[in-house]
């Protein structure tokens, strides 16, 4: 096989996949594009253990139950403390408070101890979800579909800082089933998901003329409507007005979730609450929507999903993520056209990206995001499992904590946002290299993982390194692993 065929295979794995593993170059070098298209037809199954994980609603209830128990323990502890204090005062009214017993005598301490006795189950659920997600990335032959999951999950991001318990289930429920389906379905699944409604404050939004709005003198929260227009669909500057935002926010009032508490079998699911909903027709982007209840919101989302501005916004973002910070306009136009022609068939859009010459003509100049990079170096060593605590700590250290972006915009995709973190990457590479140096031969990685497609400079640096560990650290830090 020629070296250019090999290097196209390496590029395919880095640019569209999770990075080369031992022998994956050999497996696809005959036809890298065909291999990517084939993965779209037969996407790898998500780890079966996911079926044992709680649904988002169940996870939500589990945390709510723990919170309630913890609260009760605090109350009991405080009561007991006050009782003890009273008795002590009655027994020896003049005695000064014993300082040595202060640890037990301090009501705050007792409350804290009580609270600590009921740990937050959300963290454990998060780590279990993280473990499977990372496993899927390690285990995929190429990982193109998994990269699409990562892309869309970031596009429709929520934050585990707000709703840790649901963050993994949200991705499984709202994103994963639709990455090769219709965008309209994903939009409805994501924007109708309780995690999103909580994250973007829609659960507290109510129409000023709704029953609840009148009774409680409360009203609208525009956050969800604005972010849906700006981030999820049309894109900023697409021509919508403040009136459109308000009307759309009115449309979306009542989209909330079933509260936890009353019923052990229910709570945390999506629910449309008509008492919160602003009555009457709304006009969004010049079109009147006179549907009743939840159908009104569904109708607006269905139109937004196939809007030309949405097509351009999503095509640009996809091409920027996969191909280049400044993507080739011809590629973006072609992907946007396919999006519109197919009413948002995401598999067809992905195929268009793979079959477009522009997607391959770009030199590997894109700086990988931290999680792509770190998954890439682990895969290169042939490792298929990791400790989720350690792995997510690494992601956080690198500035990309899993499901925890700092804003609804998600993690950025441009080099400027990430390049200053190169020092952190060096720390991680160095540490990881130390852990695997006993078993991983850097020259093996160059030959069997990178198909010998590395520059002479990298080869020299690896050859001259003072130790295997240093050789591996330099290799992991080289542009061959950092850029795609």
């Amino acid at each position: 096989m020629s070296s250019s065929a090999k290097s196209e295979a390496v590029l395919a794995l880095h640019r569209f996949g999770m990075g080369p593993r031992p022998c994956s170059v050999a497996a696809i070098e005959a036809d890298p594009r065909g291999a990517l298209l084939a993965e779209l037809e037969r996407p790898p199954a998500y780890p079966a253990a996911a079926s044992a994980l709680p649904s988002s609603a169940k996870a939500f209830r589990t945390v709510a139950d723990a919170n309630a128990k913890r609260q009760a323990k605090v109350v009991v502890a405080k009561r007991a403390q006050e009782e003890a204090k009273k008795q002590q005062m009655a027994a020896a009214p003049m005695a000064p408070m014993m300082t040595e017993g202060a640890g037990q005598g301090d009501p705050d301490m007792a409350a804290k101890a009580a609270a600590e006795s009921v740990p937050d189950p959300g963290r454990g659920i998060y780590l279990e979800e993280a473990k499977l997600r990372t496993q899927a990335a390690f285990g995929a032959d190429i990982g193109f579909v998994e990269r699409l999951v990562w892309f869309w999950s970031n596009h429709f991001c929520i934050s585990a800082d707000r709703i840790q318990s649901m963050s993994g289930a949200y991705e499984r429920e709202a994103i994963r089933p639709h990455v090769l389906g219709r965008f309209a379905d994903m939009l409805l699944a994501a924007d109708g998901h309780p995690a999103m409604l909580l994250y973007l404050d829609n659960t507290v939004s109510m129409g000023v003329n709704s029953i609840a709005g009148i009774n409680r003198s409360r009203g609208l929260n525009e956050n969800f409507a604005r972010e849906t227009l700006e981030l999820h669909t049309l894109g900023v500057g697409a021509g919508y007005t403040q009136d459109d935002v308000i009307s759309f926010a009115n449309v979306l009032t009542g989209w909330t979730l079933v509260p936890a508490g009353g019923d052990p079998e229910h709570g945390g699911e999506f629910s449309f609450n008509p008492r919160l909903h602003e009555p009457g027709a709304q006009k969004v982007l010049g079109k009147a929507y006179d549907q009743e209840g939840v159908d009104q919101g569904r109708a607006v989302l269905a139109d937004l999903a196939v809007h030309p501005a949405t097509a351009t916004h999503l095509a640009t973002k996809l091409a920027r993520h996969f191909i280049a910070d400044t993507p080739p306009p011809a590629l973006v136009e072609r992907m946007a056209k396919v999006f519109l022609d197919t009413s948002g068939d995401l598999k067809e859009v992905a195929k268009t990206m793979i079959t477009s010459p522009e997607s391959w003509a770009q030199p590997p100049g894109k700086l990988k995001r931290p999680s792509e990079w770190v998954v890439g170096i682990v895969r290169a060593c042939g490792i298929t499992e990791s400790d989720p605590k350690r792995f997510t700590a690494g992601q956080a250290l690198l500035g990309e904590p899993l499901w925890r972006p700092s804003s609804p915009k998600g993690y950025p995709d441009d080099e400027a946002s990430w390049i200053d973190g190169i020092g952190r990457r060096l720390d991680v590479a160095n540490n990881f290299a130390e852990r695997v140096a006993g078993k991983v031969d850097p020259n093996d990685v160059i030959e069997n993982v990178l198909g010998s497609c590395v520059s002479a400079d990298v080869r020299d640096a690896v050859g001259r390194a003072e130790s295997r560990q240093q050789a591996l650290a330099l290799l992991f830090m080289s542009a061959d692993f950092q850029r795609r």
């Binding site: 490792i383 956080a396 093996d444 030959e447 130790s467």
Partner: protein, 416 residues
């Protein structure tokens, strides 16, 4: 292309990342004899400059060789005198104190039988105990234990894994079971690794070079690059490079000692410290080598402290794959060489001596006119320790532990 090479399973990666090797049962004969010896091997990867660590200040050619980079007794930061001929790098006051207390010995102009200059191959020879690189996949310390076991003197069955961490050195890999432990701290990338990466970026990726350079500059100012947020239980990166290296060395070595000190703990351990490949700006009484030796000195102090009572039954051997050029190179550093030092410390030693068959420093006396000529085979030192401390049989040492070394006689008299 060959795709059938062995790649590690998760288990192997986990097991392979340990730093310690152990048996949990004491040698029966040793116990019967009232002894309970401990041995810790520290591998300095990258090739320690033996002349920069222990300087032959009494050699008339010394100053001529190193010029103002030579350690001297009357410098601004004077070297610490060991005897009438040798002096220790001032970064190592603990080692000096132990030496004065007869609890440290230094072997100079020592080297393995390896005479090429590749780090990987040199470390392979150093740790495998076999003169030819790449010959076996086990280390001499592991084979020594296996020999004790077959003798019925050690029960390895009780060995247990104790965690995951830094790389398990080849010296302890092999048939006998291994337990491992991970330092909590992230070992920071060394200045040397940063410099090499910067060089690579300058040739291949100017933008990454600029980004890395600004981080290095920031670190030099004592900054940390970025605030450490969202890492409540994560590794701390708050300290500048050398402080983190010092902390890492002390933690790793101190933990090893804590395990070795336990009555039911391991009796043999090994760990590796990287960063000794000082091609550029090596320094002497200040700078890179001084900082690393200082960190090593701190590690030795941590071992002594954590060993407690067991210190008197302890030997620590600090060894490296080869030495460095006798002269300073064109970038204020030294390149790969041959003869170097082995540092031995521990309460069980008959110390207070520099052991050297000194080859001299005149050009004609140097190996290939460039390196300190090795006059002592490191295997003789190690065989001496294994025979007199762990009580290994000489014939086993010559056949399985250090194969084909019958003509290398164990050094006598190292133990007290």
């Amino acid at each position: 292309m060959s795709c059938n090479r062995h790649l590690p399973t998760r288990r192997e990666v986990l097991a392979g990342s340990g730093a310690l090797f152990a048996w949990t049962q004491m040698p029966r004969l040793a116990r019967a004899a009232g002894r309970d010896p401990r041995m810790l091997v520290i591998i300095l990867r990258g090739a320690l400059d033996g002349l920069g660590a222990v300087a032959p200040v009494g050699d008339p050619d010394w100053i001529g060789l190193r010029g103002d980079r030579a350690l001297v007794l009357d410098g601004k930061t004077p070297a610490l005198p060991l005897d009438s001929f040798f002096a220790l790098n001032p970064a190592m006051p603990n080692l000096h104190r132990l030496y004065k207390a007869q609890q440290a010995a230094i072997v100079h102009a020592v080297a393995t039988p390896y005479r090429e200059r590749s780090h990987f191959d040199g470390q392979d020879v150093l740790e495998s105990g076999v003169a030819r690189p790449g010959a076996v996949d086990s280390g001499w310390l592991n084979r020594a234990l296996a020999a004790l076991e077959s003798d019925g003197r050690v029960n390895l069955g009780g060995s247990r894994a104790i965690g995951v961490g830094s790389v398990m050195p080849l010296v302890v890999r092999g048939k006998a079971p291994v337990m491992s432990w991970v330092p909590q701290r992230l070992l920071p990338a060394s200045d040397d690794t940063q410099a090499r990466l910067l060089d690579l970026y300058q040739h291949t990726d100017p933008k990454l070079a600029v980004a890395l350079q600004s981080r290095i500059r920031l670190a030099a100012l004592g900054g940390t690059g970025n605030a450490d947020t969202a890492m409540a239980d994560g590794p701390s990166l708050a300290l500048p490079g050398i402080e983190r290296i010092r902390a890492y060395f002390a933690e790793a070595a101190g933990a090893a000692a804590r395990f070795l000190a336990r009555t039911d703990g391991p009796r043999v351990g090994a760990l590796g410290f990287v960063g000794w490949d000082t091609h550029i700006n090596e320094g002497a009484a200040v700078g890179q080598l001084y900082n690393l030796l200082g960190a090593l000195d701190g590690a030795l102090a941590a071992i002594e402290t954590n060993m407690g009572e067991a210190w008197h039954e302890t030997v620590v051997a600090v060894i490296t794959e080869f030495g460095r050029t006798a002269r300073i190179n064109g970038t204020d550093g030294t390149d790969h060489g041959q003869g170097t030092v082995a540092l031995l410390v521990g309460g069980a030693l008959q110390g207070g001596r520099v052991i050297a068959d000194w080859p001299g420093l005149k050009a004609a006396q140097l190996y290939e006119a460039r390196d300190l000529k090795p006059t002592t085979d490191l295997r003789a030192v190690l065989k001496g320790l294994l025979r007199d401390h762990l009580r290994l049989d000489e014939s086993v040492l010559a056949s399985t532990v250090f194969p084909d070394s019958a003509d290398v006689r164990p050094m006598a008299g190292l133990l007290g």
